[in-house]
């Protein structure tokens, strides 16, 4: 029988199951099928901090949400239109996020009395009518998978494990996804266990065929490829893009890369990735703790490498003192903070933007550090290069503030042409730079470039430039220990001036204000770009006028920031914290910025922001 095929413009699917059900993998596969098909997409993985929280419990539920469309989209979607629930816990944990009429595919095999009781279902929700508002597809996924693999000589356990591939096959059929990449993937993944590989492929195909044949699914859907700007694309997560950005920075600076890091969620994958690229002259050092991680990176920077340390909020706290040393030494150093929910251990696997003020002020004394923040997964690549550019040119530690949403979320990324990437080469000092009264030529480690105020970078091994640096205040120019009141006052101010001066060297703040006469401006930073832009679109779609500006540089702010802010009657600053950027803008520009905050460990929903913006527009 041939089935009806519907054309739709976008879908939001959420795969949900036990930590052990392989939902992240399933989501990843569906994502890359979707990417290679050419839809625009955005993903939101969401998993517990435990490695394998107990099966069938609410805290144990792991999910992966994917939004794909035939046009460019900005977020993983506010609410899933399709939920795949591998067990009662997955259903219970996610049902409240679904709009009425959503499709729900459930694995009925897991709906035993015990399993349902475990999550507080007194009666079977599939039967008690409590789900009438939704469009339920009750499928015995496990049984069907096991049956489909009867021919294989594998354990029942292994057969059951393949149920996520069955589900993937079914969904792939439902949305006309190309299947080659997944089949290739499975063969590669289980290369060592050919039987398992074949079994998974078989389950995957069985799922597809099940969709094809069963009455349960009368309709299938087509989402046409999106018309994105011309170019070659790949799907990429923020952590991967950031890691690539760091490799690229090393290559473009023609410097060895040295990463000193201590594993921490959600930053660890950057360490894992960089560890794979030793043939790019990239050294990765897994240190005994965060302090040793940054210490080693700083030591390598003294030696002439591009020093990098990667971590998350708690690690930044530990590195505070060493960052202060880097400020005083005025050596290039990248501090990558993939922010997560805080305070303290907080919510290790959830996203948040609450380290901005820590990055600004989390050190003793006046210790200014430039801050750069990427706005999307793909943008992590460019932001990493920009952060490296500033660090190398100005001889300063630089913060790169990503977050858990960018780190694990993915989107299609237009692959840049390597030769178009900025040239980051720097010149090491090779000659004395100062002449004493007696005419002898000497090297002054703190004699600054009048333009950038950067000090010379003279690396060990350079004859005649032997010098000593340290964290005690030093004399302007000559760099020897100095306790003079006037010198200290000068040095404190010149370090600040150096960082402030970077404003001359960064892109101006762009404002998106199509009609040019909006009275309300929305200002954001970091990963809120997508939701804010999506919210802004909705408002405009309903005829509302609103301008959007998104800060990539948080310290210093772009030179035209004051000007931009003054242009609007109202400025809204949505943040996944309690108003950290808002505080900085208010302090610096005395603008009565309206902070809109959420600290839920999740990205904003476009609808919610649209609503907020609308309200403010009406209030003007």
């Amino acid at each position: 029988m041939t089935k009806q095929v519907k054309q739709i413009d976008r879908v939001v699917i959420r795969f949900a199951g036990d930590s052990g059900d392989g939902m992240q993998l399933t989501g990843d596969r569906f994502t890359s099928e979707t990417a290679s098909f050419g839809n625009d997409l955005s993903t939101l993985p969401n998993f517990p901090a435990e490695i394998r929280a107990p099966a069938g419990t609410l805290p144990g539920v792991s999910s992966f949400q994917l939004h794909f469309a035939d046009h460019d989209i900005l977020t993983p979607g506010d609410a899933p239109t399709v939920l795949v629930a591998m067990n009662p816990a997955a259903l219970k944990a996610n049902i409240r996020d679904l709009p009425r009429g959503a499709e729900i595919i459930v694995n009925t095999d897991e709906f035993s009395k015990r399993a349902m009781a475990k999550v507080g279902y007194a009666t079977n929700p599939l039967e008690d009518g409590s789900l009438d508002a939704y469009n339920i597809h009750a499928v015995p996924l496990t049984t069907l998978t096991v049956e489909s693999l009867a021919a294989f000589d594998i354990s029942k356990k292994d057969a059951e494990r393949a149920k996520n591939m069955f589900a993937l096959g079914l969904l792939s059929w439902l949305y006309h996804r190309p299947t080659e990449s997944t089949i290739a993937f499975l063969q590669k993944k289980f290369a060592k266990l050919p039987v398992i590989a074949e079994a998974n492929v078989a389950a995957f195909k069985a799922g597809w065929n099940f969709g094809e044949t069963t009455e349960g699914f009368a309709v299938s859907y087509e989402v046409a490829p999106a018309k994105l700007p011309a170019g070659t694309y790949r799907n990429i997560t923020g952590n991967l893009a950031l890691a690539y950005g760091l490799v690229a920075a090393g290559q473009r600076a023609e410097l060895p890369v040295y990463l000193g890091s201590y594993p921490i969620t959600p930053a660890s994958d950057i360490l894992h990735e960089l560890a794979k690229h030793k043939n790019f002259d990239v050294r990765t050092f897994q240190a005994e703790d965060e302090i040793a991680g940054i210490g080693a990176a700083l030591g390598a920077a003294f030696g002439g490498a591009l020093g990098i340390t990667t971590t998350s909020g708690p690690g930044v706290a530990l590195k505070s003192e060493a960052i202060g040393l880097a400020v005083s030494l005025e050596l290039p150093l990248l501090i990558v903070d993939v922010q997560r929910g805080g305070p303290s251990t907080g919510l290790p696997t959830k996203t948040e933007q609450s380290d901005l003020l820590q990055a600004m002020f989390g050190r003793n004394g006046e210790a200014p550090v430039p801050i750069v923040a990427p706005r999307t997964a793909g943008d992590c690549f460019d932001a990493a290069i920009e952060a490296a550019r500033i660090a190398l040119k100005y001889r300063t530690p630089v913060f790169l503030l990503s977050d858990g949403y960018l780190a694990n979320g993915s989107e299609p990324w237009r692959i840049p042409n390597v030769d178009d990437l900025p040239d980051l080469r720097v010149e090491f000092a090779t000659e004395p730079n100062h002449e004493n009264e007696d005419g002898t030529k000497v090297f002054w480690p703190y004699k600054r470039d009048p333009e950038t105020l950067a000090r010379p970078w003279a690396v060990p091994g350079t004859p005649g430039l032997e010098h000593r640096i340290g964290g005690i205040e030093k004399a302007d120019g000559i760099g020897t220990i100095n306790y003079e009141p006037a010198n200290h006052d000068f040095m404190v101010r010149v370090r600040q001036a150096k960082v402030d001066g970077i404003a001359k060297d960064i892109a101006e703040l762009e404002v998106d204000d199509p009609t040019g006469d909006a009275k309300v401006l929305v200002v954001g930073w970091g990963s809120t770009y997508g939701p804010i832009a999506a919210g802004v679109r909705r408002v405009r779609a309903q005829g509302g006028k609103v301008a959007q500006a998104h800060l990539r540089h948080l310290n210093p702010f772009p030179a035209n920031t004051a000007e931009v802010l003054k242009k609007y009657d109202k400025v809204i600053v949505p943040e996944m914290n309690l108003g950290q950027l808002a505080l900085l803008l208010r302090a610096k520009y005395l603008v009565d910025a309206i902070a809109y905050n959420q600290v839920r460990g999740l990205p904003f929903k476009a609808e919610e922001l649209a609503h907020v913006i609308q309200e403010v527009i009406e209030s003007v």
Partner: protein, 362 residues
């Protein structure tokens, strides 16, 4: 016994100067003053640090290295002011972190001779973790630990090497902590080279520096240093001509362990297998323990580290306790990069960022 032990190091792997094999040499004749910086030394008059500084500046010319390829990294403390006085590259970093910083430098620059200068507080209080990890990794660092058994720069609080019951500003009724034995903890932390020497014994200090410099990997040199302001005389028994010979046990690899005026004492294993001091006359030469610094198994070196009494300084062994070869961290890291590059060729950035799952929109 002596053969067994000698043989374990006899293959000479890692002996000689491969530690500095990659550090460029100079043709110019160097002298002590080449290593003196123009900075005025700011230690208290009479501080033991002066003698150590002189010994190091006097020794370095021996190595014949280009001085621009030598780096001194320190933490915070009186002792950690050391780099300012050396006319080499140097970093006076933050409290306790020098081993970590030096690890980054040494493991990224094999052409450098990297020295760490630290104190008993810097290395064993706040910096304890970095120290033990540097030791187990065997990074190519020479760590000079100035042990004056006190916090000097902060004006005299007890340190992790101060004897229990010490009266200091922070312990008016006496400290409660049992001290570390730096040699013991270093050996427990898998160190490949551990030695002890004394600020005032220029000759011995120099000989230990020589062996340390020759060691490929992390060398920990504990230097007993007098702080004449806050802990004066801490090591007097080892310095006073009347007592020093009878309390100091000078260790020499491959030699029976003898000491005391006309070497009348020696170290032997007692019935229970533990090391003990005995009169040579009584036990006889053959019963004496022969020191084997090259033994792979650290148990002997550890046993020797327990001989001295940290309070009375009696029977304090000085010299090289342990000196064995183990792959050096920096070398391993460099080799891994080289091997990977050889195997896959120098990285191709364009290929890397494209990956193998792309699609094109025109």
């Amino acid at each position: 016994m002596s053969e067994a032990s000698l043989s374990s190091g006899a293959d000479g792997r890692g002996r000689g100067l491969p530690a500095l094999a990659l550090v460029p040499k100079t043709d110019e004749k160097q002298s002590m003053k080449d290593f003196k910086s123009d900075q005025e030394v700011r230690w208290c008059p009479g501080c033991g640090d002066y003698a150590i500084l002189a010994a190091v500046q006097g020794f370095l010319p021996e190595l014949g290295l280009r001085k621009e390829n030598i780096v001194f990294v320190s933490g915070i403390g009186c002792s950690s002011r050391f780099p300012y006085y050396m006319n080499t590259y140097g970093m006076h970093s933050i409290h306790g972190r020098a081993p970590a910083i030096a690890t980054g430098l040494a493991s990224s620059r094999q052409d450098l001779s990297v020295w760490v200068v630290t104190g008993d507080g810097d290395a064993l209080s706040i910096g304890g973790n970095h120290l033990i990890h540097a030791l187990r990794r065997n990074v190519n660092l020479k760590i000079l630990l100035f042990n004056n058994r006190i916090y000097g720069l902060t004006k005299g609080q007890y340190s992790p090497t101060s004897e229990t019951g010490k009266i200091t500003k922070s312990t008016p009724l006496g400290s409660l902590d049992h001290p570390f034995n730096p040699v013991s903890i270093a050996i427990g932390a898998e160190a490949t080279f551990v030695a002890r020497t004394i600020d005032s014994d220029r000759k011995h200090l120099t000989s230990v520096l020589r062996e340390a410099a020759a060691h490929p990997g992390t060398a920990l040199v504990e230097i007993y240093q007098n702080c004449n302001i806050f802990n004066d005389g801490a090591f007097d028994q080892l310095k006073d001509p009347d007592t020093r010979d009878d309390v100091t046990i000078r260790l020499e690899h491959g030699q029976p362990v003898k000491f005391g005026t006309d070497l009348r004492y020696g170290v032997v294993r007692n019935a229970s297998g533990q090391l003990d001091v005995a009169e040579v006359a009584e036990v006889g030469e053959d019963a004496l323990l022969v020191h084997d610094a090259h033994a792979e198994n650290p148990e002997l070196a550890f046993a020797l580290s327990r001989l001295g009494d940290l309070t009375s300084n009696y029977h304090t062994p000085i010299g090289v306790f342990r000196n064995v070869e183990r792959p050096v961290y920096d070398t391993l890291m460099a080799d891994q990069l080289a091997a990977d590059t050889a195997a896959r060729g120098a990285g191709d950035l364009a290929a890397l960022i494209s990956g193998n799952d792309t699609w094109t929109i025109s």
